[in-house]
Amino acid sequence: MTDLVHGNVMLVIAAMTAVTVSLRLGGFFLMSYVTVTPRIRRMLDALPGSVIAAAVLPVALQGAPVAIAAVVLAMLAMYVSRSDIAAIVVGVGTAALLRAAGLG
């Protein structure tokens, strides 16, 4: 295996940048070749919520019970107050308190 320069952090960063930039621009680029039918529109509409659910649920279940409590209370705070900042404070605060109490 070829040895790259030891500790060449910048080279790795450049490679990671190439990957993320092509992802950030790629979806938009690709969609210029796709006709948005009603079906595709429904799929696009469901995408954001699906990304959220797929990203959150496994993390919440894995971090049980602290993560579950934090996420549920944050959602409750959002429902009651309609304020992102209140919800985040409640969620992060719940996690901090429960951990201070020796849970998780």
Binding site: L25, F28, M43, L47, S50, L57, Q62, V71
Partner: protein, 247 residues
């Protein structure tokens, strides 16, 4: 903010008009993402601290935050950061980057209906600023009928600035933040994500794809190591929505 009625964080609706830029939209975009500044700053501190512990210089850390620009992927790759770089370790880190960040590709797709009418030299540089938070907030804005690209750009630029600033502080004060878990900062992203489902709620039927996405993600995470579960769940949810007939 948040006076917004509870409309889907999701759909770029038919109501959204042609894209334009305004200073006002830019300001609104900055304000819209401001609730996360404190926690984002804390996350940047964590990254800066970890990076310094791995031997990153200030410039290294700033380059990573500036160009790779993703809290999750930066922390994850740092945790597997090799001592010696070979082609194999380079490819591994690229693969990790790909799987952790595949969701950015999906987010990029959802900007097509909005930015599609912009000239490419404007659209593509702006898309560089896609982040979880900026994207979520912009999608909600779009769903509420907005089409000011300044809104997304304002949020994107300020988040990028906060991220760079907090990275720098983290590197410079790398002995300060020893246990981010104690402050619940590791759960910041799931919490922020989850709260955004509330304004996106549009009745049980519209939520079926989300449930499918969540279940598939949990199963895939259990079966397959890495971050494939996010993309598997998200794509399953979208496919389900395509199959479910409209009313």
């Amino acid at each position: 903010m948040n006076t917004a009625p509870q409309i889907a964080a999701a759909s770029p609706p038919a109501s959204g008009g042609a894209p334009y830029f305004s200073r006002r939209g830019f300001r609104e975009g900055v304000i819209a993402v401001s609730p996360v500044f404190v926690s984002l700053f804390a996350t940047g501190l964590v990254f800066g601290t970890l990076a310094a512990q791995k031997g990153f210089s200030l410039l290294d850390a700033l380059a990573m935050s500036g160009f790779v620009y993703g809290g999750l992927v930066q922390v994850v790759t740092l945790q597997t950061w090799p001592q010696e770089f070979t082609v194999a370790t380079l490819l591994t880190l690229m693969l990790v980057t790909l799987t952790v960040n595949l969701r950015l590709f999906l987010m990029s797709i959802t900007f097509r209906p909005w930015f599609g009418a912009l000239p490419p030299w404007q659209a593509y540089p702006i898309l560089f600023f896609i982040t979880d938070i900026g994207w979520l907030r912009a999608m909600r804005y779009r769903a509420e009928g907005g089409s000011d690209v300044g809104f997304f750009l304002g949020g994107g630029l300020i988040l990028h600035f906060v991220w760079l600033a907090s990275t720098a502080v983290g590197v410079l004060f790398s002995n300060w933040l020893t246990n981010p878990r104690a402050f619940g900062i590791d759960l910041l992203l799931p919490i922020f994500f989850a709260t955004l489902l509330i304004p996106a709620w549009h009745g049980l039927r519209r939520a079926v794809p989300w449930v499918i996405a969540g279940i598939v993600a949990v199963v895939v995470q259990w079966l397959v190591p890495g971050y494939w579960y996010i993309i598997a769940g998200a794509v399953s949810g979208a496919l389900a929505a395509g199959v479910i007939a409209d009313d």
